[in-house]
Amino acid sequence: MAVQLTSEPNAPAPPPDPGRRRFAVRVAGRQLLALPGVGWTVLFFLAPMALLLVYSFGSVNLLTLHVEFGWTLSNYTQIGQALYLQPIVRSLALSAAATLACLLIGFPVAYTIARASGRRQALLLLGVMIPFWTSFVVRTYGIYDVIADNGPIYSILHSLGIVHGYIHVLFTQYGVGIGVVYTYLPLMILPLFVSLERIDPSLLEAAGDLGATSARTLRRVILPLAVPGIIAGTILVAIPATGEYVIPQILGGDTTLLFGNVVSDQFEDIGNYPAGAAMAIALTAVLLIVLMFLRSRSYKAEAAVA
């Protein structure tokens, strides 16, 4: 709508443009539709994060557990202690290894689904998503039984004569790794599938016609075009895996302390909310930096694909 900066007393106002008004109403309507989502995010994500940030500069009376708000940095400086740095390093290493494993396992799966068609593709996708129909904790306990010392994997390997001695996976870092990969694998497969499905089959045919081997086609055509999916999958897996504390508790037997467990202990067992908040904020900040880096790479990759 035109804005009239000056008005002449006797000049008639221009008639409203009905088309523009309808457009403005439609835009406003669309914005209104976003309100519940925005409100939800503000209320249950931004507000708690803001609260955590405020808490992180406070101090706690460990007798009454009353938090006194202030501007102390001591909660942040203590994160530098070896006691907390080691769990951070372990968490990041676990996250990196689990993400890489998810990528290596997930890529062929996603490619197979992307190349399938019709009902077969739908069935394969369903297979990937079915684990999400079960509660996360129940799934983790399911893995617990599978990798237990006398569980089905051990029994099968033993009966086939592949394993003669004793293998112990549950309550080890390998057990935690298996649990994390199993839990987050679908989050890697789905974005990869979206990227791979978009690849025009004629590009692959062209590569073949030009004499490229399968390996070269994969390296020079498929992988570059799948980069947005790889980045999206990496973000979806690496971020929650870094703060993971339930899987290490159930499958790791708590013999290895991860940063998620340290944060949880601060809130639940010690009652030092400001320290727990500072740790959570620090971890979020690290992840945010990683996220921003990956997003910038993703934008560049998408632009290149376009």
Binding site: L83, G253, D254, D269, G271
Partner: protein, 375 residues
């Protein structure tokens, strides 16, 4: 009156672990339910009952599924119009429970908790002193427990010892030092429960120190002993303490008395060891909040709970170690005869209750615990 459990799905608590103590082998809570079905009905001969004069809603903060279906229903028969609502304390940690109370001041009339929580709340001025005249059944509770938990009516207690599989362990250990000596031989076949005060207390007892010591050198010795023991651990368990023991993937488990008693029902090769050096123990009970507007009803409910028949019904349901010998004639024989659970003066003599050590000591011990986990 009706009983409603609180909301949300709580994390695994020490109490909830009782129901899950038999791991995946039995559905959570099925054993207590069975015991409750076998147990006598809770009577309603509360001497302090005030008929139907008490009205309103009593809110009890407690563990999930910790009371049988008749616990409050029978109380309701005495007090039509009085509603007891059992809210769930949502987490394992004592600090989180305290925070829940702090953040919801006035929301609860009474709560279940141990010495550290009650003492901390008392020091913070939140608890109402017990009106003993209105809880005459309190005198039926063993004096040891009343002294250990003066802010509350004691309801149950637990000891930390260890258990072993006699078919997998050729030796017959009886002490903490026996366990330490056997650790290298059974390395990787030993588990430990994850509850800092109980484990630290056990290692202190093993070294001949008080569970509640504040002496730096003794705490350092404890930490050294714990760190040297850790490499032999298969796991430090938040729940399902005895699952491996039942299945045979674990030979020795540092565990609670009640959990071992429940596990023995599934595997008769499991042997409970109350170590000769002594045991760290917790006692817990109901305490009332100063902010409650229904304190008379709270005292009446407490007295009702300690009525021998009612108390026996509670013990038969939970399978916990009992604090009221007067209720023995109504308690299941299985519990009374269980060496881990019975009211045994010899056992009690070995027990030292965990106290509240103050915020600085609590923080220091928490840090030692984190260092132990991180090692």
């Amino acid at each position: 009156m009706s009983v409603s459990d609180g909301h949300g799905s709580p994390r695994i608590t020490r109490r909830a672990a009782l129901g899950r103590g038999v791991g995946g082998l039995a559905a959570a809570g099925s054993l207590p339910a069975l015991l409750a079905a076998c147990g006598g009905s809770s009577g309603s001969s509360s001497p302090a009952q005030s008929g139907g004069s008490l009205k309103g809603t009593l809110v009890l903060l407690s563990y999930p599924g910790w009371y049988g279906p008749k616990e409050f229903a029978d109380f309701a028969k005495l007090h039509p119009g009085l509603h007891v609502k059992s809210e769930v304390s949502g987490t394992t940690g004592a600090a989180a429970t305290l925070a829940q109370i702090e953040n919801n001041e006035g929301a609860y009339d009474l709560s279940l908790g141990g010495v550290p929580t009650a003492a901390q709340l008392s020091q913070a001025g939140q608890l109402a002193p017990l009106d003993i005249a209105k809880i005459p059944n309190l005198k039926l509770v063993g004096e040891t427990f009343r002294k250990a938990l003066p802010w509350a009516i004691p309801t149950d207690f637990g000891k930390t010892g260890y258990a072993y599989r006699k078919d997998l362990v050729s030796e017959r250990p009886t002490s903490w030092h026996d366990l330490f000596a056997l650790a290298p031989k059974y390395s990787g076949k030993i588990t430990m429960l994850k509850y800092d005060t109980d484990i630290q207390g056990s290692f202190l007892k093993a070294l001949g120190y008080s569970v509640n010591t504040k002496v730096q050198s003794q705490l350092q010795a404890m930490q050294k002993q714990m760190l040297s023991f850790k490499p032999h651990l298969q796991a430090i368990l938040e729940t399902d303490y005895s699952k491996g023991l039942i299945e045979g993937t674990v030979s020795i488990a540092i565990d609670y008395d009640y959990d071992v008693a429940a596990a023995q029902a599934h595997n008769h090769n499991i042997v409970w060891v109350p170590p000769t050096e002594g045991m760290a123990a917790y006692v817990e009970g109901w305490y009332a909040f100063k902010s409650s507007k229904h304190l008379d009803a709270v005292w009446d409910l407490m007295n009702f709970h300690l009525e021998p028949k009612n108390y026996a019904s509670f013990i038969n349901y939970t399978g916990a170690a009992y604090v009221e010998p007067a209720a023995e004639k109504y308690i299941l024989k299985r519990i009374i005869d269980d060496p881990a659970l019975r009211y045994d003066k010899q056992n009690l003599a070995r027990v030292e209750f965990e106290g509240y050590l103050g915020p600085e000591q609590a923080a220091y011990r928490a840090k030692l615990w984190e260092e132990f986990l991180d090692a």
